[in-house]
Symmetry: C2
Subunit: 440 residues, 2 copies
């Protein structure tokens, strides 16, 4: 019998598989590979013992067990909402009232990814414009593509998003009558995925001012993706962008427990203008009417006992050691090659590596394959870019020290150098054994 | 300063809050109320001890702890996907191969609600048609409204969806050139929410035949929502609709651990044609790239040890006792009123009660308020209906014995009768104290 085809929605035709699924598959199929590509977290420091204590105590008491295993609410556990609000405000050194926030302005979600999706769904129509950093979090780019949104990008420098370039963009949109399609400015403002860069303090305030200034007919909202904020191992904690939105009208802040606690629990949260809460919660009512309540109650317990905060402190030390190992390995393997440069993140999970332009790090290039041969995986920098106007750089790579153990980092970077050497463009191969014909 | 308004998406304007949020609020604010409205599950039987054993064993071993607390995959834990596949096929008395299913055709989601949403998103464009039973699961109706879909309904009888009426609908759509907009037929085929009715075995096979017969140019898919299948306390287990889709091309089956295990874990799953898996998983990549991995690993453990199956067996007995209590209370409180009728569910959580047409059970009627005064809440039957052509019945009510304790059920039904008596339309008030002027 001839079975007629499934007739998909228009949206389905805009959905693509994750660009890194190929790399995930690679890593699974080649266990000898050292993956600097995976967005996974450090496994040795996952707070298994603290979570075991929490589950025992929750499940050992009939009342708390019932509350944890029953359905929760769509907006999320009220006590956890209150705790995260106070937690964020404490980091910012303000009271919730001072920036017009209450636990009613908090929504708990299935990781912060779900918050990004829900925000997109209630705000964005096909053809609307979102401004992001170049490069930016590639899963967010897929999300915007699914929603048929126009992405405009703004370059970054050592202080994060270049606000002068942003202002030019805004001005140009205004002049060309397109400002009414601009709904969101998205920024990963702490130890960005993929570059490791952060938005400087002066720019935080300025960004809010810019959004306000250009909100002439409708509100241009800022989506502050602070996923990595708590993984800080150096320097002072920068105030959130939200902190400068004192009336709680322009900034949606997105946080997660995946990075600072445990991604297996998959709980994130947003702080947002009150008028967005209703639409987001109502929409979430159709998505799932509430993320795992058990996960929420576990996290609530960890915050209550103080174990969450202790854990984050320890974790930052772990990642600092890993970052140090990676920077040292880059230094010893690439210092003879001055055109190769990398960022020095003060937190988070990523180092951004730039090769000379002649080296193509992308899926079409040869480095990635040579890397697999040598036994190392990275994420091509291309995946963090969108082709808006002109070309995207093809000589960058995201290196993550998230899941790789600290002792394997030097070998991973050695392999990367060996792979690069095979392209015949490096100043001098460090290991001649592999490519003797290139020596001398 | 005058702040300009947020400019929402078109979708946002179609999102409404849950019709029962009013009732939830009521119940919270009036703790003396007995709620037969809540869709919550029995709390005394939640498997807290089994889950505590599972978490201890998972978290007590470093390897399993890491695997559970790390990110999982977007499609979901492979071992759990395999187990649920074999579990469902065992209930159906077939091998997975016999109906062309493998663990690759299974997707794990944040409750089965998320599966319903994802299926809708990849299939439905505004203006597309979905056929549902009348009445049906009201959260699904909200979801369809959010997606701007046209809902056509088919009445039910004691054997579930009336397939003759369905065939007439299909025939009419074909004749009027609208068949190409019909994407899905949605049925809650086991102990339906809200009526408690099930689709009879002969109709299951017939439904698949009808979908095939009318799939002339594109495929008309059946979405089998089997959320309550395992909560069966009477009669044989009916084969799934999926069981008759031997080539795995026409039926998406949706299941959940919320009802038979613990809604706090919020894990559901779908078995579906292979070609839908890619689009669903890719879309889920933007939603959250995976539901709580910890919840999945806990459930996997419960299935592995056999505790899941033991639990379901015990749970069915609990709900049977509660159903019996509710039927007995209805009998003793309403048997003098022959126009009041109710269903006798063989599983699930719901009894469907019909009053004479003169009694308005809806949010605009007086019974609901009198119920609150007397201290009992139900869900107005109206919420399960969509106004398609003509009026929807306003004399029905969904009574749930899910969360109410068995000892309070008689009092809840007594209160309902007292509330009904206050409308002055019942044959004779059972309790004269409240309404002396109506007596005699
Ligand atoms: C910048 C950024 N935002 C959001 C997320 C989403 O993570 P989760 O949904 O686990 O919170 C990630 C995950 O890698 C990320 O890198
Ligand atoms: C018919 C039906 N389908 C699906 C669901 C979704 O439940 P969950 O997402 O917890 O699996 C429910 C919940 O009440 C339901 O009644």
């Amino acid at each position: 019998m001839n079975v007629p085809p499934v007739c998909y929605s228009h949206k389905r035709n805009r959905i693509t598989d994750s660009p890194i699924s190929y790399f995930m598959k690679m890593a699974l199929e080649n266990p000898h590979l050292i993956s600097l590509a995976a967005g996974l977290v450090d496994e040795g420091s996952l707070p298994a013992a603290a979570i075991a204590r929490a589950t025992d105590s929750i499940l050992g008491n009939p009342a708390t067990a019932k509350a944890a295993l029953q359905y929760g609410t769509t907006q999320g556990n009220a006590s956890l909402r209150d705790r995260v609000l106070r937690h964020i405000c404490a980091m910012d050194g303000v009271t919730p009232e001072a920036i017009n926030l209450s636990a009613n302005d908090v929504v708990l979600t299935t990781g912060s990814q779900q918050l990004l999706y829900l925000v997109g769904e209630i705000l964005l129509d096909p053809g609307d414009i979102v401004i992001t950093e170049a490069p930016s979090y590639f899963v967010y780019h897929s999300l915007l593509q699914t929603m048929d949104v126009r992405v405009l990008t703004v370059p970054m420098d050592g202080e994060g998003m270049d606000l002068q370039a942003l202002e030019e963009r805004l001005h140009h949109l205004e002049k060309t009558g397109q400002l009414d399609r601009l709904k969101l400015i998205y920024t990963v403002d702490y130890f960005q995925n993929p570059t490791g860069l952060s938005l400087s303090t002066p720019r935080r305030q300025k960004l809010v001012e810019l959004a306000k200034r250009y909100s002439t007919k409708h509100r241009i909202l800022i989506l502050e993706d602070a996923a990595y904020r708590e993984l800080r191992f150096e320097g002072p904690d920068l105030p959130s962008i939200k902190r400068y939105d004192e009336t709680n009208e322009f900034v949606i802040s997105s946080y997660t427990f995946s990075k600072p606690c445990a991604p297996g629990l998959k709980i994130g949260y947003g702080l947002m203008p009150q008028e967005l809460v209703g639409p987001i919660v109502d929409l979430k009512g159709s998505h799932d009417f509430g993320s795992s309540n058990f996960s929420q109650v576990i996290i609530e317990r960890l915050m209550q006992t103080g174990e969450y905060h202790q854990h984050v402190e320890e974790l930052a030390k772990t990642y600092r050691r890993k970052r140090d190992a990676m920077l040292a390995a880059l230094q010893s393997n690439f210092s003879d090659w001055p055109e190769v440069r990398w960022t020095t993140p003060a937190g988070g999970l990523y180092v951004w590596l730039s090769f000379p332009e002649s080296i193509n790090t992308g899926p079409e290039g040869t480095l990635v394959g040579k890397g697999v041969e040598e036994g190392v995986l990275y994420v091509p920098g291309e995946f963090g870019h969108v082709a808006v106007e002109g070309n995207v750089p093809t000589n960058e790579a995201r290196l993550s020290y998230g899941v790789v153990t600290v002792d394997r980092i030097p070998e991973a970077i050695r392999r990367l150098r060996r792979a690069a050497d095979q392209l015949g463009l490096s100043p001098q191969p460090l290991e001649s054994a592999h490519q003797p014909e290139l020596v001398g």
